[in-house]
C-alpha cells in the first residue's frame, strides 16, 4: 500500500466518472501519487464491421473529431474536479475499452484503478456495468468501484 504511486481513473465523462475522479484525486493527494485520467474511444472499424451500411456515413475526419472532443472533455473534467492547476496525466486511446484499460494499467505499472459502476446514459449502463465487472475481475491491481452518489444500500 505504501507503493501506491500511480492511480488510474478510466472515464466516460459521466457524473459517476466525476465522482470516481474525486476519489482518485483525494487518494492521489494522500499518497502523493500520480493521477492518470483515461478515455477510450471506440474503433470506427469495429462499428463498420458490424454495420457496413453506415460505413459511408462515418465522416472521414471521425477519428480526429473524436480525439479532439476527448482531449477537450478530459481537460474539462480534470479541471472541474481537480482544479485548473492540476497535474492529471490525460490520455485518449482508441479500441476496446476493457483491453485498452488493462493494457494501459500494465504498461504504466498502475497501482490502483478507480472506476464508476454506472455509465453516462441508460443505454450504455450495461456496457459500462459489464466493463467494470470485467475490470475488477481481471485487473492486475486493486480496483476501487464507485457507485453513483444517489445509490442506497440494497438489502436482498
Amino acid at each position: 500500500m505504501n507503493k501506491l504511486k500511480r492511480i488510474l481513473v478510466p472515464t466516460d465523462f459521466s457524473d459517476t466518472a466525476d465522482l470516481a475522479l474525486r476519489y482518485g484525486h483525494s487518494l492521489a493527494r494522500q499518497y502523493e501519487a500520480q493521477l492518470h485520467l483515461l478515455h477510450v474511444i471506440p474503433d470506427p472499424t469495429t462499428a463498420m464491421g458490424i454495420y457496413e451500411q453506415i460505413a459511408d456515413a462515418i465522416p472521414p475526419d471521425w477519428q480526429e473529431t473524436m480525439l479532439r472532443h476527448s482531449e477537450e472533455q478530459l481537460q474539462k473534467q480534470a479541471a472541474g474536479v481537480c482544479g485548473p492547476a492540476n497535474k492529471v496525466i490525460r490520455t485518449t486511446l482508441q479500441g476496446d475499452a476493457y483491453s485498452e484499460i488493462i493494457r494501459y494499467t500494465k504498461f504504466n505499472a498502475i497501482d490502483l484503478i478507480v472506476i464508476g459502476t454506472h455509465g453516462r446514459t441508460s443505454s450504455v449502463h450495461h456496457l459500462i456495468g459489464g466493463l467494470t465487472d470485467r475490470i475488477f475481475r481481471k485487473a492486475p491491481c486493486p480496483v476501487l468501484t464507485v457507485p453513483p452518489a444517489d445509490r442506497r444500500f440494497k438489502l436482498p
Binding site: H25, Q30, F136, P147, F153, K154, L155
Partner: protein
Amino acid sequence: MIKLKRILCPTDFSEYAEHALQYACSLSEKYAAELHLLHVLPDPATTIATYGPIAGYLPDNWTESMTEHANRELKKIPKKKWANQIKVVRATTQGMTFVEIIQYAKEHNIDLIVIGTGTTLNHALMGSVAEKVVRKSSCPVLLVHPQDH
C-alpha cells in the same frame, strides 16, 4: 470533499483477507478513519440444510463457541504497528456473508468497504461475496486481489 470516516474490512482470516487488511489499515491511517473488522459466521441452519447428516454432530453451543473463537481471532488483527495508530472496532455476526456485510455497512454508515478476493477454494466463497457486495453497496468498494493475480 471525499469523506472516509468509517472503513469496513470483512475478514475470513484468510491470507487474502489479510492482504486486503493492509490496504484498509493504510487508508484508515491516512484518512484518520475508524476501522471496522467484521467476521460473518455461517448460519448453522444453512450448514444443516447442506449437510443434513452432520446436523447431529453440531454441538448445542455451536454459535457461542464459534463466536468466541472468531472474537479471539479478531483481537489478533491488525498487526500492532497499525493497532497503535488506528481506532479499531471489531464485530462478529451470523448469516449470509454478503447480506451481513451490506447490513453492517448500512447500520454503521460505512464510507468504504475493503474486501479481498482469493484464487483457491476461498475464491468461490469470498470472490463471489466481493462481487455481490459491489452490486449491493451504496458506498465505494475496494477489491484487493492476491498479489500474484
